[in-house]
């Protein structure tokens, strides 16, 4: 068991693909080629789409946005271990995981542009909406996984959150519930070293976040968060455990937020350039590319083709989002209750008359 071999209380961290793309063969997970390629392409797409979102914000075409740069493996790796029917519960900085799960990029742009229609998802997506109040989604993941267990399904829940979230009561209560109920849930903490300006070491006096699992009676593991293979391997093991009815796991993905907290933030106020440089030499995408190239799955030509294709896709998705109709007044009222109460209908009628003619955002 990886969770036994890499005990966070003994200061161990799981790493399989080092920063230069050299793989530890003894630990290398078996992943089909198609899946490896899908993961890589999604990471590249995530980066391009993410950079685009930041640029759109700067141009006033998109609202405040939390960049994912640097966390692509941390987002894509764990989600790669999911099957259809497994749920994804996320916070707000998981673009890569969402794209891997097939959420249309233009919907995500539309959401960040401030249009509720961006939250419309068709089909059976097994996905919660973003959870902006930090840590508040963890108990939901427990409840969703409880329902799976109750119906004797073999599905699992993968729940993302940040290092800052581990300070909230909801984190501790959620883990405690999951431990006592032994529900099939994987808690994936993206420790990107900061919660806005707060460095991880001021967030908790504990040396790792992974070890917090011990207090709730289940296993925790710290994983190199820029190493897609390690993230996949750790999650796959946790997923297998959960499917067998052996309860939850906490995975701490040790990564780094290369960008600002959001486009409203200025990270130079609280962190040093040297630190960012250190992490930029540990980029999750470039080391994975080396790995694929060594396996003869990737080369310069394919790289060029895919980055052009991804850039084209991103532009197309932006166009789709930007040409989407603005929300109507009724849309703001429609989903308050299943059936609109009479009083609310009257308010809607009143607002139709009371609002000035030109009013779209």
């Amino acid at each position: 068991m990886l969770t036994d071999d890499f005990d966070p209380l003994q200061g161990k961290m799981l790493s399989i693909l080092d920063k230069d793309g050299k793989v530890n063969e003894a630990l290398e997970p078996r992943i089909e080629d198609a899946k490896l390629l899908h993961a890589y392409k999604t990471m590249v797409l995530t980066r391009i789409a993410d950079d685009k979102a930041v640029r759109l914000q700067r141009q006033g075409r998109l609202g405040a946005y939390p960049p994912s740069r640097g966390q692509e493996a941390s987002q894509v790796g764990p989600a790669l271990a999911l099957e259809k029917g497994d749920w994804l519960v996320w916070a707000f900085r998981e673009l890569g995981a969402l794209l891997l799960r097939g959420v249309p990029l233009w919907r995500l742009y539309l959401y960040w542009m401030g249009n509720e229609e961006g939250s419309v998802l068709e089909g059976d997506v097994s996905l919660t909406p973003s959870a902006v109040p930090v840590g508040s989604q963890l108990p939901h993941a427990v409840g969703i996984s409880y329902a799976m267990k109750y119906r004797k399904e073999s599905n699992v829940v993968l729940c993302y959150f940040g290092d800052g979230a581990t300070s909230e009561g909801d984190f501790h209560e959620g883990l405690n519930f999951a431990g006592t109920m032994r529900t099939p849930v994987i808690f994936l903490c993206q420790n990107n070293q900061y919660a806005i300006s707060m460095p991880r070491k001021l967030q908790t006096a504990a040396p790792t976040l992974a070890q917090k699992a011990c207090a709730y009676g289940f296993k925790g593991i710290q994983v190199d968060g820029n190493d897609l293979l390690a993230l996949y391997a750790a999650t796959e093991e946790a997923v297998a455990r959960a499917r067998k009815g052996e309860g939850p796991t906490l995975i701490e993905s040790f990564t780094y937020r290369m960008g600002d907290h959001t486009t409203s933030d200025d990270a130079t106020k609280y962190r040093l350039a040297e630190e960012t440089a250190y992490w930029s030499a540990r980029d999750p995408i470039s080391r994975f590319r080396v790995y694929l190239e060594r396996k003869n799955l990737w080369d310069e030509k394919r790289e060029k083709e895919w980055s052009e294709e991804a850039a084209r896709v991103v532009e197309e998705e932006v166009r789709k989002a930007e040409t989407h109709a603005p929300p109507a007044l009724d849309d703001a009222f429609a989903h308050t209750f299943a059936t609109m109460p009479e009083g609310l209908r009257e308010q809607l009628e009143f607002m139709r008359r009371d609002l000035p003619a030109k009013r779209e955002g």
């Binding site: 401030g114 509720e116 973003s130 902006v132 300006s197 707060m198 609280y270 955002g361």
Partner: protein, 325 residues
Amino acid sequence: MAVMNMVQAINLALREEMERDESVVCLGEDVGVDGGVFRVTEGLFERFGKERVIDTPLAESSIVGTAIGMAMNGLRPVAEIQFLGFIYPAYQQFVSHAARMRNRTRGRLTVPMVVRAPYGAGVKALEHHSESTEAIFCHIPGLKVVVPATPLEAKGLLTASIRDPDPVIFLEPTRSYRLLKEEVPEGEYVVPLGQARKVREGKDVTIVGWGAMLPIIQKAVESLEKEGISPEVLDMRTLAPMDYSSVVSSVKRTGRCVVVHEAPRNLGLGAEISARVMEGALLSLQAPVERVTAPDITVPLPKGENYYYISPERVVNGVKRAMSF
């Protein structure tokens, strides 16, 4: 006198109170090294050090709970909750402890703390960053709730809040943070809590508002005046305990009352103000109290915000309904 915006005025009040009284400490998420996400606490960490400007872990319940403990034991904490929309994990601490500590200990233990939080819509913010939920705090006996409308007011009201013997929730309208600059004096400047401010005299109608609604009311007043209507405007500024008698005496003269708030209508403070006016000035009323409020829906995302947020036009409409009743 220096000309400054509301962020700078709040910063000045904090700085001066910390200079004056060593028991004043600041705590919250990103208030120290970063200087706060809106830069309200900028420079305080450098000036007063990490013992007095405390970067806390990310946990609202513990920020408020810890502040309560500090206040019970001789400190005067000024806690920041990054946005009002994230205060709810701490609601228990407010309701079950801060509000009633004095009562439960028969006055032995008290909670002289201030909890500051930016709030309100009109800035096209992300989800949960636009709510105006002052009413759920005003409803709790034992809590004071204060909302400044201008930089000068912010300085005076925050100073009074820090010196107040009871817990104060100090709500800072995000929209007003950098909207207006005015002269703010350095040194002692206190605006007593619990008193409304008459922003302008008028004879036809009393418009009641607070915080970010005042500049919007001001715009409405400009167009109403052109039509020969003379509104009186009151800034309530302390929402709990509210200065209802100022409203009642104004309405006794004008005969009409329009309450403007950006919070939803149902059980918003407009409902209570309306009841008080009815109790105190029924025979002077020439029209029912008009409420210009948001509808009872979740604040829409930015592209739908104008369906929700109060506009000067809607205030004008409300006043005209009262005038033509």
